[in-house]
């Protein structure tokens, strides 16, 4: 069964591809098949979005259970072994099935071609393959839960030598992540090529929207860094199956080398996670502050700088693992540098907001919350980049607080901002306003009550991944757990509101419903037709300039 090339799909007798929106377009396939076999980047983006949010909800439920178990010292609901699997799964699902595909696979797929004036990505069928690989990896990961020795209990980091010895289903889980990594590589490759080759006439690199810049930098990281975890996981599988010894101390192997190889990918991976979020925030702020972005080229270059510097700091995850002092010194120094481009972004966003006409729409609320939370995450990151601090707080709740502020408060809030910001474009409806703002408030307050105390807990010495703890930590654990209830309530409210609004929200067929949108996606119909543009747009101004584009039909 051959998947037709994109331009061979035009079906004799079918309505002109661009007369109707992409949901209504009837190609070769019908019904569910028109989604599963679609090479349309918009449908692929929506499929990613749906499955990812399902996994986010699963991961969030696992987190909810973790917090319940930690409400008091001693066993509440689950045994220690189960608890180990809970946090492993929480990490694996959140990281590999939500945050890494993240805004790139979902909104990137949907918006990237439109933002550069293209009809699709460079390789639409490869894009579909990426999606199928994602589904396959997800299924394999789920299978790893219920077969063999049970779900992995190694933590999402699969550190050797325990990951080599444990009887749990590490091999299958590692293979699942390998498949997911392959999906990520192909997406990155596709997006980088698309950006190089399919920009509309007149759109030089420095006329691209900042979201596109962030997708570009992310794509490079996906291509260059992901193969390293690919081979690392292969080595784990080979170690477990054949005992080659490369990470096994009894055979002369060095477990620290596993950590090096693991983090050579996994540190750039956190930039794969956050960069599209940073790009989306730039888009949200310009539109809802009714201003052109301040410092466009600096923000653009900072995305590249983050990708570059983020690739050379990995061993700061290993300061207390047994590294040489030379390595610790080098990596600590390099870690300081990576804060600079992130700070460049924050300064420019704040400068954009200053004297802007700020509309406190829900996307802007999430964006403002993002800046606050991202800064806390960033500052605490700087703290733990200092050797003398990390020696005390490594593997404590301080770290857990830090990365949840950066990843969840960072990418998570940027994700929620993006969902609301591009909602009317994708669904031609507006979400219900009041519930969206209540949900935001609960999520923001709940988030800080949940994760803020973790800095205190960690500073006082509470170790991470512990199922039980000393009574002196009980107070802040309880505060944190209550915070999780508030936050989950807010997030559930947000999801229910958005899902309900898809069918029952106020109709909104405006091309530019926020009024302030100036990038190309706000010039096409909501929802867009199959090939996005009737005519190839000609770009003759910067992405956030206030003058109108040559009107696309």
């Amino acid at each position: 069964m051959a998947i037709p090339r994109h331009d061979e799909h035009v079906h004799p007798g079918a309505p002109d591809a661009n007369e109707v929106n992409f949901y209504q377009y009837q190609g070769r396939w019908h019904g569910l098949a028109s989604w599963i076999f679609s090479t349309d980047h918009k449908k692929i983006g929506l499929m990613y979005l749906t499955l990812m949010l399902v996994f986010f909800t699963v991961g969030m439920s696992l987190g909810f259970m973790i917090r319940l178990e930690l409400f008091k010292p001693g066993q509440q609901f689950v045994s220690a072994q189960t608890y180990n699997s809970l946090f492993t799964l929480h990490g694996v699902i959140m990281i590999f099935l939500f945050v890494i595909p993240g805004l790139s696979a979902s909104m990137g797929n949907f918006m990237l071609p439109i933002m550069i004036g293209a009809k699709d990505v460079q390789f639409p069928r490869l894009n579909l393959l990426s999606w199928w690989l994602f589904v396959t990896g997800a299924l394999l990961a789920v299978t790893a839960l219920f077969t063999g020795g049970g779900p992995p209990d190694t933590g999402w980091t699969f550190y050797a030598p325990y990951s080599i010895r444990t009887g749990t289903n590490v091999t299958l889980a590692a293979f699942a992540v390998f498949v997911l990594g392959f999906s990520s590589i192909l997406t990155g490759l596709n997006f980088v090529t698309t950006i190089h080759r399919m920009r509309a006439p007149g759109m030089g690199f420095f006329k691209m929207p900042l979201f596109v810049w962030s997708i570009y930098a992310t794509g490079w990281l996906q291509v260059v860094a992901t193969p390293v975890i690919g081979i690392t996981l292969v080595l784990i599988m080979v170690e477990r199956s054949f005992g080659i010894g490369v990470f096994d101390p009894t055979k002369g192997g060095d477990p620290i080398l596993y950590q090096h190889m693991f983090w050579i990918y996994s540190h750039p991976a956190v930039y794969i996670m956050i960069l599209p979020g940073l790009g989306a925030i730039s888009e949200v702020i310009t539109v809802h502050a009714r201003r052109t972005i301040f410092g466009y080229s600096f923000i653009a270059m900072s995305s590249i700088a983050i990708a570059l510097f983020g690739s050379i700091v990995w061993a700061h995850h290993m300061f207390v693992s047994g590294n040489s002092l030379v390595a610790n010194f080098v990596f600590s120094l390099l870690t300081m540098i990576v804060a600079i481009p992130s700070a460049v972004k924050v300064f420019n966003w704040v400068a954009t907001l200053y004297k802007g006409s700020i509309q406190l729409e829900t996307p802007m609320l999430y964006a403002l919350a993002f800046i606050f939370i991202f800064m806390i995450g960033g500052f605490t990151g700087m703290m733990i980049g200092v050797l003398s601090v990390d020696v005390h707080v490594h593997d404590t709740y301080f770290i857990v607080g830090h990365f949840h502020y950066i990843l969840f408060g960072g990418l998570g809030f940027a994700f929620f901002a993006s969902l609301h910001h591009w909602f009317p474009k994708m669904f031609a409806r507006m979400y219900h306003q009041v519930p969206s703002k209540i949900a935001w408030f609960l999520t923001f307050v709940g988030f800080n009550v949940l994760y803020g105390p973790m800095f205190i807990l960690g500073w006082e010495g509470m170790p991470r991944r512990y199922w039980d703890y000393l009574p002196q930590y009980t107070h802040w654990h309880q505060v944190s757990t209550v915070g999780s209830w508030i936050m989950v309530a807010g997030i559930l409210m947000m999801f229910i509101n958005l899902i309900h609004s898809i069918k029952h929200g106020e109709e909104c067929t405006d091309r530019n419903p926020w009024g302030g949108g100036r990038t190309l996606e706000w010039t096409v119909p909501s929802p867009p037709p199959l090939e996005n543009f009737r005519d190839v747009p000609v770009v003759d101004r910067g992405p956030y300039d206030l003058a109108p584009h040559s009107e696309a039909k």
């Binding site: 004799p12 090529t193 080979v238 080659i244 010894g245």
Partner: protein, 262 residues
Amino acid sequence: MSTEAHSIALAHHKDYRGSKFAIWLFLITEVILFGGMFLLYSVYRSEHAADFHRGAEELNTLLGSINTIILLTSSLTMALAIAGTHHGNRKLALWMLAVTVLCACGFLVIKYFEWGAKIHHGIYPGSARLAAFPKGEILFFGLYFTMAGVHGIHVLVGAVLLTVMFFRVLGQPHAKLSFVAGHGLQHAEGARLAIIDEQGTPLWKGDKIDTTIQRIDVKTKYWPVKQRFKVEDFNQLENAGLYWHIVDIIWIFLFPLFYLIT
């Protein structure tokens, strides 16, 4: 047909440069994939130099050298196959492709015998004999089997890929034009499709086109000659060739690092 120029729907251009760019991005991932294992090799070698020497002595340098020559030759035949298409020499291209696949199989056959001998002598990951070796040698053989194994998988994939390419080249080159009702066909009613020579004389005429026709596909298969050659036609073959050369380059490094450090 002026309406077509503005419609993206029929902008059916093959982006040769974009395709080449993308395959190079993929090759970067392959190199870095092997790079991770070279990283392990470098570290362990620097820590166990003497053991690595001893391990290398166990390997069959003659077979390794023969395999190296085989792969280098296969790179030559691959390059010649592509050059054949450039020169309009389809027969050469097909023969050279076939030889390349044969070389790949030859490489794998020799590997099979090499490893068979090793296993017969009890040297393989997890074996009791290997466990008694010094740590550095255990690591040497662990890395040897893994790196040569992953490389061998890539050789196998390459052989399959090039076989597919062989059959693709058989059906090339061809050009295909599609005219769809609503995009250029609407003014063609009553006209005929014809093949016309340089003087304007029709060599062949089809039936009149009426309104029931929805689409006309014209697929032209032609013998390639140098003057008519377009790089885009053999895009896939060139990409497959690039993959094959990378597989060769990996072995160029594997060979001395495992066989020649005696």
